[in-house]
């Protein structure tokens, strides 16, 4: 449904807020071709928009780049709020290892700045350089590096947000330890734009590792790789990440080690001793492209699902998933998740997904659709709207977005 912006909203915002474009994939995700985009230039403007939307009964979908928006089915009139104009670094104190930046700042730009001080943000979800800081926080994704660094949610120190009804809040702070009051910030991490629009974020940074070594093991027999991968995950040393990718033709195990040269060398030896295999070492340019390939693989795939289970069950999950013809798999062995890129020509997507879901649940796992061709109705495999996630989630939704302005997944 189209919302006519010319009169009411345009009078409330400066001209710069209008006329922005977004990737066409967004419209696919939103199952619509409505192109009403507004780009506020400040938290105040965000508040203005949300108050206006509350009054007008218009829904708002906040986006960063819009490239990774969850699949949604808008039913009411809505607009898209992009953070693309909120993109400056507000505060960077390298000696404190903290940075505050606006939500729309791209991870690539932020990383460039951090790197000049030998620092980085150690999270690597798919396509991370192209994400926005706000989008990263709103989805809560850490990527496989959380094996070595912990999850994103533990390194978000503070944020400013604008709730669905236009209330602006400052959450957390700039310090690593902070227990002054209830930790509302935690629920904002991973709230996927359903509770509030994040306008700025303070994150804890890490020193860049002196050595970033990639160990590679390739095999045609995936189950062999799985047992090595699990042995790595239960070894006495903690790698930075453990990724296993597989297709029906074979697979590749990538283990990343971070640290000083001597310790990385010792870690590799101890892993090889523990697992009884010897890894190939890939050096920087090649390693980087391998990782980019893994992280970005299937970025254009239209049918993507994610499966979760106890990390120790990863083997059985892969055994099951690799039977899907034409599938390509990417597993975080430490975390216990598998992303499966499925061929769109999969015969009868709906019943195939239903079958997979049944099998996976029998193995104690869960399946979630991340992307799906617009023509397919597979809403039951999407993340549920918060109001359907139990009383507590629904209560929080009401507390932060009382008029349900921010779009839930429907």
């Amino acid at each position: 449904m189209r919302v006519d912006l010319t009169d009411s909203l345009s009078r409330l915002l400066p001209e710069e807020a209008f006329g922005h474009s977004v990737p066409s994939s967004l419209w696919t995700a939103l199952r619509t071709d409505v192109e009403t985009v507004v780009a506020p230039g400040s938290a105040e403007e965000v508040a203005t928009i949300l108050k206006w939307a509350s009054e007008m009964g218009v829904r708002v979908v906040p986006i960063g780049t819009g490239a990774h928006t969850y699949p949604r089915y808008p039913r009411d009139p809505f607009i898209v709020l992009t953070t693309s104009r909120l993109n400056e670094i507000q505060h960077y104190e390298p000696a404190d290892l903290t940075m505050t930046a606006s939500a729309g700042a791209s991870i690539r730009d932020l990383s460039t700045e951090m790197a000049t001080h030998g620092q980085w943000l150690p999270f690597d979800p798919p396509d991370v350089p192209n994400r926005t800081l706000g989008g990263l926080v709103a989805t809560g994704l850490s990527g496989p590096l959380w094996a070595g660094y912990g999850q994103l949610r533990n390194h978000v120190l503070g944020a400013t947000i604008v709730c669905g009804d236009g209330r602006a809040l400052r959450l957390g702070g700039k310090v690593v330890k902070n227990v002054a009051g209830f930790d509302i910030l935690k629920v904002m991490v991973g709230s996927r734009g359903e509770l509030a629009v994040i306008t700025s974020v303070t994150v804890r940074l890490f020193p860049l590792p002196v050595v970033d070594r990639l160990l590679v093991l390739e095999a045609t027999d995936v189950s062999e790789l799985v047992s090595t991968a699990r042995a790595v995950a239960t070894a006495p040393i903690m790698p930075a990440s453990i990724i296993l990718s597989a297709t029906s033709d074979g697979g590749r195990l990538l283990v990343r080690l971070h640290g000083a040269r001597v310790s990385v060398e010792a870690d590799q030896k101890s892993l090889e001793k523990h697992t009884g295999v010897s890894f190939e070492v890939r050096n920087t340019p090649e390693a980087e492209s391998l990782l980019v390939q893994e992280r970005g693989s299937g970025i254009d795939t239209e049918l993507v699902v994610r499966v979760w289970a106890l990390p120790s069950r990863i083997g059985v999950l892969l055994d099951l998933l690799k039977q899907v013809p034409g599938v390509s798999l990417n597993a975080d062995v430490y975390g216990g998740s598998v992303r499966a890129y499925l061929p769109v020509n999969l015969s009868d997507i709906e019943s195939s997904l239903a079958g997979l879901q049944k099998d996976i649940e029998e193995l104690g796992g869960t399946i979630r659709v991340l992307r799906i061709p617009a023509e397919v109705d597979a809403s039951s495999y999407f993340a549920k709207p918060l109001v359907d996630e139990g009383e507590l989630a629904a209560g929080l939704k009401r507390a932060f977005d009382p008029h349900a302005v921010l779009w839930g997944i429907e």
Partner: protein, 505 residues
């Protein structure tokens, strides 16, 4: 708008601080409630004798005292659920309690409250070595979990100084930290799932390894640090880490706490990631050396800096060399290094014994807790020194320097009424100083009752209302630990924003 949900008079009923003694009279529970509680947990686990209730009148912060109407000690999730259901249906407030080591009065009862203690819920239910998680009841002592998982080459990372006695439930409620949280992070990072008894006794399970963490909101993260105000955690799933191969401990002696602070900044800035960085200042060194815990530190030292590295054996000496270099460049008088456990214990001694030592040299001690950005440490420490001088109070600092978590210990004598007043004013100035430096009013001890008065220094009315709203989601009738965390704001008309802002200062 922000409005207080409950009205409590949190005047310290102090005997330690004011020499006053509370009357100890509480309204007994109706006998039917007592007998129904006894039916659930057994009569020996329901304490109602006013004399016996005295021992539950305070936690680790004895400035606040009030005995509860009863103490109930259940042994399972089901029992807690039944107890909470019964009490709430009678409109009786529930105050969860672990080991009572909290330092902000979190486990202090309300005048009408009943304490539900977890002392009997002390079993480790599961150790899953493959997935590196454990499931424990909330009354399990922090250090016991590490002892129990050590045989599998695993341990539980958060190590509050009270770890030999505080409970995992208390840790969850306070989001506790410890010396090694610099590298490893605080409790929140290790809690993966919870079974929680909510208002009315409803049992819910949230989180859990193996469940899709991005499927819904991070309710576990919100519950951690909720100080017993959202519900009672009755089963806790925690992440374990593999025991690191090697450890190096350094002890640097400095002429001033400022130069020690600069050394810390230098160490972090050169890309090192120590497991712990702790500072003990001059007054503390003198206190420790004067006590039975003397560790043999030079008395004229202005500060001692304890730095620890852990990880793969091979890289440790290099890290230690570089840290030592940083210390020397910042003017360290000497730097010692330990590799064996005994020597390590010795280097840590002044840090670990500081609290007890100060208890021995001064009649009373107020342990403060605040955080500032690490780079602001030198100026904030100088500021605290100045505050101490102006009020004529002795303030000793022992703190987690690596993450800017200060613990100024104010030494005083409660017999001296005038001094009490000064302690109160100095505390407030210290809090303001830390907040102005970009920090906050508590790093790990929580707000409890004690710091409610400082909440408005860091949060505005809108933020406080949002926190209150979050509490209402979990506990609509405010029957869990009311009167904690959120400050009391006097609201005449419900929408009298001006007044709220006024009290928000």
């Amino acid at each position: 708008m922000y409005r207080l949900l409950e009205k409590t008079d949190e005047e310290p009923v102090a005997s330690l601080l004011t020499g006053k003694v509370s009357s100890g009279m509480t309204r007994p529970l109706p006998s039917t409630v007592v007998s129904d509680l006894a039916k659930i947990v057994g009569h020996e686990h329901v304490i109602t004798d006013p004399d016996r209730l005295l021992v539950y009148e305070s936690d680790g912060l004895t400035a606040y005292r009030r005995p509860p109407r009863a103490v109930v000690l259940p042994s399972s999730t089901e029992e807690i659920s039944a107890v909470v259901g019964l009490l709430h249906s009678n409109g009786i407030e529930v105050i969860p309690r672990g080991a009572g080591t909290g330092l902000s009065g979190g486990a202090l009862t309300t005048p009408e409250g009943v304490i539900v203690g977890t002392a009997r819920m002390n079993r480790i239910l599961k150790i899953d070595v493959e997935n590196r998680i454990a499931i424990a009841q909330p009354g399990v002592i922090n250090a016991r979990l590490t002892e129990a998982t050590n045989p599998y080459g695993l341990y539980y990372a958060p190590d509050p100084s009270s770890q030999s006695t505080c409970t995992l439930g208390g840790n969850v409620a306070e989001n506790s930290g410890g010396p090694h949280c610099l590298k490893y992070g605080v409790t929140a990072r290790y809690i993966t799932g919870l079974t929680v008894v909510l208002a009315g006794g409803q049992i819910v399970e949230i989180g859990g390894v193996g469940r899709d963490p991005y499927a819904t909101l991070d309710l576990v993260g919100l519950f951690v640090g909720s100080e017993g105000c959202f519900g009672i955690a009755t089963e806790i799933e925690l992440r374990l880490l593999p025991i690191t191969e090697g450890v190096r401990t350094l002890l640097g002696i400095f002429e001033s706490v400022e130069s020690a602070g600069r050394a810390v900044t230098k160490i972090i800035a050169c890309g090192l990631m120590p497991a712990a960085v702790e500072i003990v200042d001059g007054p503390t060194i003198k206190a420790v050396e004067a006590s039975v815990f003397a560790a043999g530190y030079p008395l004229e030292a202005g500060a001692a800096l304890v730095i620890e590295f852990d990880g793969t054996e091979a890289g440790l000496d290099l890290d230690a060399d570089r840290a030592e270099q940083c210390c020397l460049e910042e003017g360290a008088i000497e730097v010692q290094r330990a590799t064996d456990p005994e020597h390590r214990v010795k280097l840590w001694r002044a840090r670990k014994k500081a609290f007890g030592a100060m208890g021995r040299i001064a009649p009373d001690l107020l342990v403060q807790d605040a955080t500032v950005p690490r780079t602001k440490l030198p100026e904030v420490l100088a500021g605290i020194d100045d505050i101490g001088n102006r009020y004529g109070l002795k303030i000793a600092n022992v703190f987690h320097a690596g993450d800017g978590n200060l613990h100024p210990n104010i030494l005083f004598d409660r017999q001296n009424q005038n001094e009490l007043e000064l302690v109160e004013r100095a505390s407030k100035e210290i809090m303001q100083l830390c907040v102005d430096a970009g920090g906050t009013i508590t790093g790990e001890h929580g707000v409890g009752v004690d710091k409610r008065k400082y909440m408005t220094l860091v949060h505005g009315p809108a933020e406080l209302e949002a926190m209150a709203a979050a509490k209402r989601v979990f506990d609509p009738a405010s029957l869990f630990n009311p009167g904690k965390v959120l400050p009391e704001v006097e609201v005449k008309g419900a929408t009298d924003t001006a007044k709220i802002l006024a009290t928000g200062e």
